[in-house]
């Protein structure tokens, strides 16, 4: 019996196979490189977006609270617990803090209260005031309502430094917050040191009275 041969199943020559392999390798390399580059770009954009979000949030929070504050102070220190109460204790080696005094606009139920005049004829909301403070804790940037630091909220991360300028706390508050870089792959000049944002807000509530 004669062995039949299927002439349609012809193979590739070695040369053809090598050319095809080379082309495929090139294409695969290009695809992988593009993918890595795209992922890196995405990571950079995502890092930028997160950083922008943090920066905007910090600025919006500080601006909102400064606008409605009746006074502002800056100090270095810590919130300290003693005699069953939290209080701010100045310490030159402590964290820089911006401490704002805001009218008690809300009652115990969280409802807005009507304004009134105090004995000196100045506008006031409710009895007493509420303290809102900003400070850096580790690499977090904290916003604290009241005196209890355990209830503070980290409103931003990756913060390298926070300063409050003493320039004019009776009328406006100037802050600067430096964020560490989130995405540091820069083959050219090297990683940037960080991004600093500035906040300069006028104290609309009758100027701070320090």
């Amino acid at each position: 019996m004669k062995l039949l041969r299927n002439n349609a199943q012809t193979g590739l020559t070695l040369a053809e196979l090598m050319v095809a392999t080379a082309c495929s390798s090139l294409m695969l390399t290009a695809v992988i490189s593009a993918g890595v580059a795209l992922q890196r770009s995405f990571a950079a954009v995502e890092g930028y977006s997160l950083a922008e979000g943090d920066q905007l949030r910090v600025q919006d929070y500080i601006a909102m609270d400064c606008r409605r504050a009746v006074s502002a102070t800056r100090d270095n220190g810590t919130w300290t617990y003693a005699s069953n109460t939290w209080s701010w204790v100045s310490d030159p080696n402590g964290a820089a803090a911006l401490i704002l005094t805001v009218p008690n606009y809300y009652d115990a139920n969280g409802s807005a209260v009507d304004p009134s005049y105090n004995a000196n004829g100045a506008i006031q909301y409710g009895a007493g005031t509420t303290t809102i403070s900003y400070y850096k804790s580790g690499s977090n940037f904290m916003r604290q309502i009241g005196f209890d630091p355990t209830k503070a909220t980290a409103i931003a991360t990756n913060v390298a430094s926070f300063t409050v300028t003493d320039q004019d706390l009776t009328s406006r508050v100037t802050c600067s917050i430096t964020f560490s870089p989130r995405f540091v792959y820069l083959p050219g000049p090297g990683p940037i040191n960080g991004t600093t944002v500035f906040s300069n807000t006028f104290l609309r509530n009758a100027v701070a009275r320090q």
Partner: protein
């Protein structure tokens, strides 16, 4: 026959499908994250735009209050609404009464940018309760809301902290408490608009430009010479209490200060203001905590200029009566035809200069007497116009003064019946014994600093050994009120009355005691103006337990 069987399994297809699936998942994940970031960006933009809308609506309300023009506004009786009011049955014609509010819905604004293309606003104005009303007039509460659609899906931000700060209404309006059909950002601000003064926006102490207090014990406060509760030692004339004097025991806290351009203004290190401080321009420097009332901005009073008199020829003299020794006596004549020194026919003197100096050089403005020696009131209305023509005057320390009172005992004394007006052109130095107003009523002595047509300014120093009781209306004069008289001034020196100046400096532990009885006599007139006394953004969300 033997047939070779060759395997044709679809391994390549599986690999390709797997690869495509992985790539699709990567792309989908990236797109999801990217779309969330984009969503957060538009929400942030809408949130910030809505504050701009709220501020714009509040400005419209301030303008309506300042001009008392309520075109497009409606009045509603009842408590303030939580959502955009719709009752258009009663167009507003005036400020709302207690228990009412006026509201306005401005036309929506078109926007261009990353987020929404529309900005909606609405604002209400209601009077604070009667307990709010002070001597300065009714205050009003402005609540303004800016609402901007947040394009994109009704999806919370991928960052919880953003959701705590920026309370985007996705399905539910937290302010109105109602469901909504598309996401929106809504921000509400509450402003207290405080009247600068009930008439005309002129306060007791007004400086067009720089205002400074230099001394540690400089003081500005108020009293009321026509109210026995807020003054002492007054007297009753025809049943009216008049001539009450200032005393710290009856002090009031309406020594309000208004500054049109606060550039360079400074309270320095200790002066107290018992009243409100209202200004336009940069923030006031110095120890502002010593302002006991409200510090607010802007201050928008219309301060009229002072014109030179336009006397008819023959109705005035160009020289004072002849001195008897060193004393010049001015008094009307009830027997003249017509009587002189009356309100309708005051004694008028137009002088190129008026300089009193040295020992005992004085002017006495007094009443004529009847046959029994009793003073006749109503005949010592005097007007003296110092023109400064021809550079007339006295030079002191290199400065030419068209009017000056210097020297140990030089001075002008007006008796308790006299009403005197000085019109001054050129510099003036009122020291020595100053001008003694024996009526104790500031309304009886006016010093008008005439406003030059060329826009220049002059200087006015008020010091002296005794208190000054009168009104200074000199909007073109750089005025200094000094507690250190040039010749042995005493502390505390008091300026009692009201002052309008170009720049105003209180030095040497001087005091200004604003007499509230002057309010209706001060220039300005017109409508009261308002300034911000409080600003608050309500960013709470009671349903989520979030307040500040």
């Amino acid at each position: 026959m033997k047939i070779h069987s060759i395997s044709r399994k679809g391994s390549i297809l599986v690999i390709v499908l797997l690869t495509i699936t992985i790539l699709t998942m990567i792309c989908a994940g990236s797109l999801y994250i990217t779309s969330q970031n984009a969503n957060a960006t538009t929400q942030t933009t809408s949130w910030q735009q809505s504050l701009t809308g709220a501020e714009a609506a509040a400005d419209l309300a301030m303008n309506a209050l300042d001009t008392n023009t309520w075109t497009g506004w409606y009045t509603v009786t009842g408590s303030l609404p939580k959502s955009k009011p719709t009752d258009t049955s009663t167009p507003a014609t005036d400020k709302p009464a207690v228990g009412q509010y006026n509201y306005y819905v401005p036309p929506a604004l078109s926007l261009q940018g990353e987020a929404s293309n529309t900005m909606n606003m609405w604002v209400t104005v209601d009077p604070v309760s009667s307990t709010f009303e002070t001597n300065n007039g009714q205050s009003y509460r402005i609540r303004a809301a800016g609402v901007v659609p947040a394009p994109g899906p009704g999806r919370v931000s991928n960052q919880k902290l953003d959701n705590d700060l920026r309370k985007i209404s996705l399905r539910y309006d937290r302010n109105a408490g109602t469901a909504i059909t598309s996401p929106q950002a809504s921000r509400t601000i509450e402003i207290i608009a405080q009247s600068n003064s009930p008439t005309g926006g002129i306060l007791g102490v007004v400086s067009r430009k720089t205002f400074t207090m230099a001394g540690n014990t400089d003081l500005i406060d108020s009293f009321n010479s026509t109210n026995p509760l807020y003054s002492i030692n007054g007297k009753y004339v025809n049943g009216q209490y008049v001539g009450g004097q200032y005393d710290v025991s009856v002090r009031e806290s309406h020594g309000d200060v208004g500054i049109l351009d606060s550039t360079g203004s400074n309270l320095n290190n200790g002066g107290y203001i018992y009243g409100n401080l209202t200004y336009s321009g940069p923030a006031i420097g110095g120890k502002t905590k010593n302002v006991t009332g409200t510090i607010s901005t802007p201050y928008t009073a219309n301060i009229p200029s002072v014109s030179a008199p336009n006397w008819t020829a023959g109705t005035y003299s160009t020289s004072l009566p002849t001195a008897q020794g060193s004393v010049i006596t001015i008094k009307g004549d009830p027997n003249a035809n017509p009587p002189t020194g009356t309100t309708s026919n005051p004694l008028r003197y137009q002088l190129s200069s008026l300089n009193l100096s040295g020992n005992n050089q004085t002017i006495t403005i007094t009443s004529p007497t009847d046959g029994n020696g009793k003073a006749l009131s109503g005949y010592d209305n005097v007007e003296i116009w110092v023109t400064g023509d021809g550079n007339a005057g006295t030079t002191i320390n290199g400065v030419l003064y068209s009017m000056s009172i210097t020297g140990k005992n030089a001075g002008i004394t007006q008796d308790s019946n006299a009403t005197v007006k000085f019109y001054i052109q050129g510099n003036a130095d009122i020291a020595g014994n100053g001008i003694v107003n024996q009526s104790n009523s500031a309304v009886d002595l006016w010093i008008y600093g005439v406003t030059p047509s060329d826009g220049s300014t002059s200087s006015l120093l008020i010091a002296g050994n005794g208190d000054f009781i009168g009104v200074v209306d000199a909007p073109s004069y750089n005025t200094t009120i000094s507690g250190s008289g040039t010749n042995g001034g005493h502390n505390p020196y008091s300026f009692i009355g009201a002052v309008i100046a170009n720049t105003l400096s209180v030095t040497g532990n001087g005091s200004i005691h604003y007499d509230e009885a002057l309010q209706k006599f001060l220039p300005g007139g017109g409508l009261p103006t308002y300034s911000y006394a409080s600003w608050f953004e309500d960013n709470g969300d009671n349903a989520r337990g979030i307040t500040f």
